[in-house]
């Protein structure tokens, strides 16, 4: 048999064995479907970074048409929803203390004069600082006076014009679900390959395998290949759930998305292979696997905007596969971008994959001698 054919025969043997074992392991097989489904539901419903419809009350002491317009503007902004009208600031404090409202708007009697003079705030917004995540958006609201009122003329009208593209309603799931593909895959994939190799070492299987003609790079590829399929199944589960439950639009080409996902899955799996050469037990593999998860989530632009990070952190983020996959997936899913325009990200993922598999194979061989 020629060596090229033998190379693939051995990889197929390892991959086939892996699939057989996976099918026999009902719990793990169930988790392949269950984990992404659970995660997408939790993230999709739970992580809602928009603050909307906060209960609020108003005390309008001015009673002018402009004051009523201010209230209407704020209500239209959907951040607050006025549920009560009261007499004065004291009543607002009462309601807030009772936990009935998160914000109170007090419009003073001299509202019209303040508006014309323009050197003092025109109204006061009381904010409940005790509730997490509520104070910030409300403060931001207070800093943005309504722009269309006559008599208030900002120097450049466009500076206050907020235009949000791709997610005009600013709904979090639309941004989060595509990025979740990467995060959920990072959670499951790294541990899959790391544990599957370390388990074979713990059980003594590797001691036998290394005495056979199997080469370490064949072992690495054979271990990686079946889990790429598993990753694609998970990708599909997340996408379908995102579209059905959270109305995430898929603007781009679905084939391109899958090409990007395949590359990312392979890269993440190869990180697991590297981890497996660094640890002795499955427990250590899990720990180290999760250790890579946190930087991925925090630094990849999933949680915080990438551009706001210091340069050193940006370099670290450049190493993480999730950073590049997030670029690809947001581009393809939300902006409908061509995979070609995302070539830098695709290239970096490919480099990561080849480097990690080589490193794992090299380290694996060394660890024997």
């Amino acid at each position: 048999m020629n060596s090229f054919l033998a190379f693939f025969t051995r990889i197929a043997a390892i991959a086939g064995k892996e699939v057989r074992q996976l099918r026999r392991d009902r719990l793990t097989a169930g988790m392949i479907v269950g984990i992404p489904l659970m995660q997408i539901l939790i993230f999709g419903y739970g992580i809602n970074m928009d603050v909307r419809h906060l209960r609020a009350a108003v005390a309008d002491a001015a009673h002018t048409s402009a004051s009523r317009a201010l209230v209407a503007d704020l209500e239209a902004g959907q951040v607050v929803h006025f549920v009560a009208t009261v007499a004065g600031p004291a009543q607002l404090r009462e309601l807030m203390a009772a936990g009935k409202i998160s914000a109170g708007l007090y419009i003073p009697p001299d509202f019209e004069r303040r508006r014309i003079e323009g050197d003092r705030p025109i109204a006061q917004l009381m904010v409940d600082g005790s509730a997490p995540g509520v104070a910030e958006p409300l403060r931001a609201l207070a800093n943005l006076p309504p722009t269309t009122r006559p008599g208030i003329r900002p120097a450049d009208p466009r500076t206050l014009e907020v235009l949000t593209e791709y997610n005009p309603e600013r709904r979090t799931p639309v941004q989060i679900v595509p990025a979740l593909i990467g995060v959920i895959l990072s959670m499951t994939m790294v541990v899959f390959t790391a544990v599957s190799l370390v388990r074979e070492r713990e059980r003594g299987n590797l001691e036998l395998l290394i005495t056979t003609p199997v080469k370490s790079v064949e072992l690495m590829i054979g271990k990686l290949a079946p889990y790429v399929l598993v990753g694609l199944v998970q990708t599909t589960i997340i996408l379908v759930t995102g579209v059905l439950l959270f109305d995430v639009p898929i603007n781009g080409n679905i084939v391109q998305l899958y090409v990007g996902a395949t590359l990312f899955i392979a890269a993440t799996l190869s990180l697991g292979l590297v981890i497996s050469t660094l640890v002795q037990t499955q427990f250590q593999a899990m720990q180290l696997g999760f250790l890579t998860l946190l930087p991925s989530i925090l630094l990849s632009g999933f949680m915080f905007p990438f551009d706001g990070m210091p340069p050193v952190v940006q370099w670290i983020a450049q190493i993480l596969p999730l950073t590049h996959f997030n670029d690809i997936v947001r581009g393809v899913v939300l902006r409908g971008a061509e995979l070609r325009s995302l070539l830098p990200s695709v290239t970096k993922l490919s480099i990561f994959l080849v480097a990690a598999v080589s490193l794992a194979a090299l380290r694996f061989r060394k660890s024997l001698g």
Binding site: A13, G204, T211
Partner: protein, 321 residues
Amino acid sequence: MSAERPPPPGSGVPLAIEAHNLTRRFGKFTAVDNVTLEIPKAHIYGFLGPNGSGKSTTIRMLCGLLQPTAGTIEVLGMQVPRDAEALRRKIGYMTQKFSLWDDLTVLENLQFIAKVFTLPRGHAKQRIDAVIQEFDLRELTGRLAGAMSGGQRQRLALAAATLHEPELLMLDEPTSAVDPQSRRDFWESLFALASRGTTVLVSTHYMDEAERCHRLAILSRGKLVAEGPPETLMDNLPLHVVEVQAKDTEGARKVLHELPAVRSQAQLGLRLHALVDRSVGDAAGIVRDALSKASVGAEVNEVRANLEDVFVAATLGTGAG
């Protein structure tokens, strides 16, 4: 077995393994120290030694899994570690611990090994059928390896190790998890393999197993302390072996311990074996006198050395061969 024992090396028998001045250090620790071995083809060659004597390290170097710190190795005419990759098709290796897959069936395990050795499809089928027959696995083909007994697993492991018809079989303490009946069957299989021309290298710390080998190397603290056919080793022991049968075994032990000519003693059931210097003329007489002086009633006879005596003597640093 002794009747079918092949002739010793040096008599024109081709060698399967030739290793010269083999040394392996791990940091400051020397696991294998200047070991030279000549292992003839179609022999069952035993490595006898306590844990940590360097048996496994030597085997691992011989199959190219471990780089020697110094020394040269030639296995089946190939240089190791240079030709280790090519050699893998010609050797079968059975680990101390069962190392096939618990969550695969007997048949699946064998099919996997056949693919890994890239046996052509038809040949693979025929070989799998042959080893299933030879190692009595017919009833177990659909059984998960993890659900089998120690003896059954060992048969499977040997079947897998011989599936690709290796010229050389390396077995690292293969019978440590097996009952006596399975051990006997296992050795029958090894003799069958050797008679068909396979060289078998087996490490053990069981004396009865070591005694079955055609030739034996005794290792102690990484050094080769005795080498040869078990019979020769027992015949040529440069010490007297005195057997003591006493009611008060403890008392007898104390007396023997005090005697300067007694190099070592070991209890075998109710009997004591004392190894006495060759320089002493009547070893049994000296022991008998000492025991009666201490008024310990005992029957004392000089006996032929058994393999345990050889082993004890060898590890004392006064080995035969």
